[in-house]
């Protein structure tokens, strides 16, 4: 009896398998339908709502959102000096953070990819990724404690000499905290790119008389450029979209802060939505350029 039941059950499974094998479209619909529906409805749907909201406006007298098409929000963003300064500041810091992260990433990535023993390499990679999983807020807060005027950094600087370094709340502090937060994101793609360079390339370059710097500039750098660009997508995008770090260690506003305040305190969601289009537009351009540089294969 048991055998028959088993066989019958197996038959059903087998029939279904065979049916799906003959109808790959059915199989595809079954497996892709769920995730695609989730993304189209929830994610793309939300982005569409955001896009539409950006063209509505807040009636300042009634504090109600008027569902009428207007370009007023974008006009304000373009013409108002305050918002222009905030946009430029955010993009500038994002660029500075990205460059710093790439420079800080290179030695460790190179060491792990080309000099370390396999055991050491694994240990280093885990060491790079682990801090990502310490709570994000705690990592920012750590820098707040370190950079505070009577904190660790100033104490360290005063130990070495007569000078004192009181960054406290400043754009410098924001820069340092961002560099810290996103370092692993830039490091890993650069590591990946370095690891893929065949040793023979470097040997050939050396055999033909190139010194270390020449090899780096003409062989290593072009080969890891896609990796660098891939990593920079993260550090750039994450800086553009952050509002908590500037709030905790900075004394100026970033795009994210304006958006956050307009959603929360001011209740001007249309304006916040319009401002959110700015990082989207910047990232769209950035991603297009990155795609050209072959960065997507290095992700």
């Amino acid at each position: 009896m048991a055998v028959t039941a088993e066989r019958r059950e197996g038959g059903a499974v087998r029939r279904t398998s065979a049916l799906l094998f003959r109808h790959p479209r059915g199989k595809l619909t079954l497996s892709l339908g769920g995730p695609l529906a989730w993304f189209l409805v929830i994610y793309i749907g939300s982005l569409a709502v955001l896009f539409v909201t950006a063209f509505w406006y807040l009636d300042v007298f009634t504090s109600e959102i008027v569902h009428e098409f207007t370009l007023k929000n974008f006009q304000t963003l373009w013409e108002n000096d305050v918002y222009r300064a905030i946009t430029l500041r955010t993009v500038g810091i994002a660029a500075a953070v990205t460059v710093t992260d790439v420079i800080l990433s290179f030695p460790l990535a190179y060491y792990a990819a080309r000099l370390a023993t396999p055991r050491m390499r694994n240990a280093l990679l885990i060491a790079v990724v682990l801090p990502l999983w310490a709570n994000y807020l705690v990592r920012v807060f750590a820098w707040k404690i370190i950079l505070t005027p009577n904190g660790f950094l100033n104490w360290l600087v005063e130990l070495t000499g007569a000078a004192s370094l009181q960054l406290g709340r400043s754009n410098w502090s924001v820069w340092i905290a961002f560099v810290y937060l996103w370092l692993p994101f830039t490091l890993l793609p650069i590591y990946g790119a370095l690891e893929r360079i065949p040793n023979s390339y470097l040997e050939a370059s050396g055999d033909m008389g190139a010194r270390g710097w020449t090899t780096f500039r003409n062989v290593v750098f072009p080969l890891i450029l896609p990796g660098i660009v891939a990593g920079s997508i993260f550090s750039f995008s994450l800086t553009l979209g952050d509002y908590i770090t500037p709030e905790l260690v900075g004394n100026t506003q970033f795009i994210g802060n304006v958006i956050f305040d307009n959603v929360g305190v001011a209740g001007n969601i249309p304006f916040a939505a319009a401002y959110a289009m700015v990082p989207v537009a910047i990232m769209a351009i950035y991603l297009l350029l990155a795609k050209r540089a072959g960065a997507f294969e290095a992700l």
Binding site: F39, P107, V129, A134, P184, G206
Partner: protein, 270 residues
């Protein structure tokens, strides 16, 4: 190949980066034991009293239970949808396949605040009450990407000849999946799930916009960072979470296998 100077520079740079990565964590750890609520360095006296205070705090307990609930549901959702998406993109060639794979990484390519305010506007427009459900929706969207990336990376490294051999030997689709494909990707699925859980447990940028007044652990930290007298409790919670998080993340790293840096593509986050 590298000159001696280059080697010294590389080793020095490596050491600097490691110090840069770990000193801040060490300092937060020390402050969790600091007697005073101030932030002056050096720390004057050490105590463990904040651990007891944190443990007895009803807010911390509430936040913890919310965070665990949200992370569990978001991870389960991501597990099903993320693996399914990875299979589809890997196995089939279909119209719009590139768009689908682009769509699936969008939540980590777009700045976090964009996702956050998009979800916030939609929740407002639809009139859904803010709470656990809305947090889960936001988190699951990221977590799907994490599972998807991990599973897809593994599928790409698994030779298709294994599947073909299984089919040639007479296995049906289900048997091939059960005995060949699944064992090959099992650890990647577990690694993806662990990372998704950790990510959800840690998320604040989007949560701030989708939670309303519901507390999660990161929201508890966020709310209390600004109240100087509660900072020691925040430090303690932070350290506890850090140590708890290390376990799943460490296991995930091992499972994802050596050089495969599972954490890399995950933190869509902030």
């Amino acid at each position: 190949m590298e000159s001696r100077l280059a080697r010294i520079l590389i080793k020095g740079g490596t050491a600097f980066t490691l110090v840069f990565l770990y000193v801040p964590l060490g300092i937060v750890l020390l402050y969790a034991f600091s007697e005073s609520v101030g932030q002056a360095w050096p720390i004057q006296g050490y105590t463990t009293k904040w651990f007891g205070i944190a443990w007895r705090s009803s807010d911390v307990r509430l936040a913890l239970s919310h965070s665990l609930t949200v992370a569990s549901i978001a991870t389960l959702t991501a597990l099903v949808l993320g693996s399914a998406a990875a299979f589809s993109v890997h196995r089939f060639r279909f119209f719009g396949r590139n768009s689908v794979s682009f769509l699936l990484v969008l939540p980590i390519a777009l700045p976090g605040i964009v996702t956050a305010i998009a979800l916030n506007s939609t929740i407002n427009v639809l009139g859904i009450p803010f709470g656990i459900l809305t947090i889960v929706i936001g988190h699951a969207t990221f977590c799907i990407v994490v599972v998807y990336n991990n599973v897809l990376a593994r599928l790409r490294r698994t030779p298709t000849s294994l599947v073909e051999a299984s089919m040639d030997l007479g296995a049906d689709g289900w048997q091939t999946f059960r005995y060949v494909t699944f064992p090959a990707i099992r650890t990647a699925i577990v690694a993806g799930a662990l990372l998704a859980f950790a990510l959800s447990f840690d998320e604040i940028v989007v949560t701030n916009f989708t939670a309303g007044s519901t507390l999660t652990i990161p929201k508890f930290i966020y709310n209390n960072l600004r109240l100087p007298r509660n900072r020691p409790v925040v430090n303690v919670v932070a350290i506890a979470v850090l140590i708890l998080m290390l376990i799943p993340v460490y296991i995930a790293q091992r499972l994802a296998g050596g050089g495969e840096t599972a954490g890399a593509r995950t933190q869509a986050e902030p």
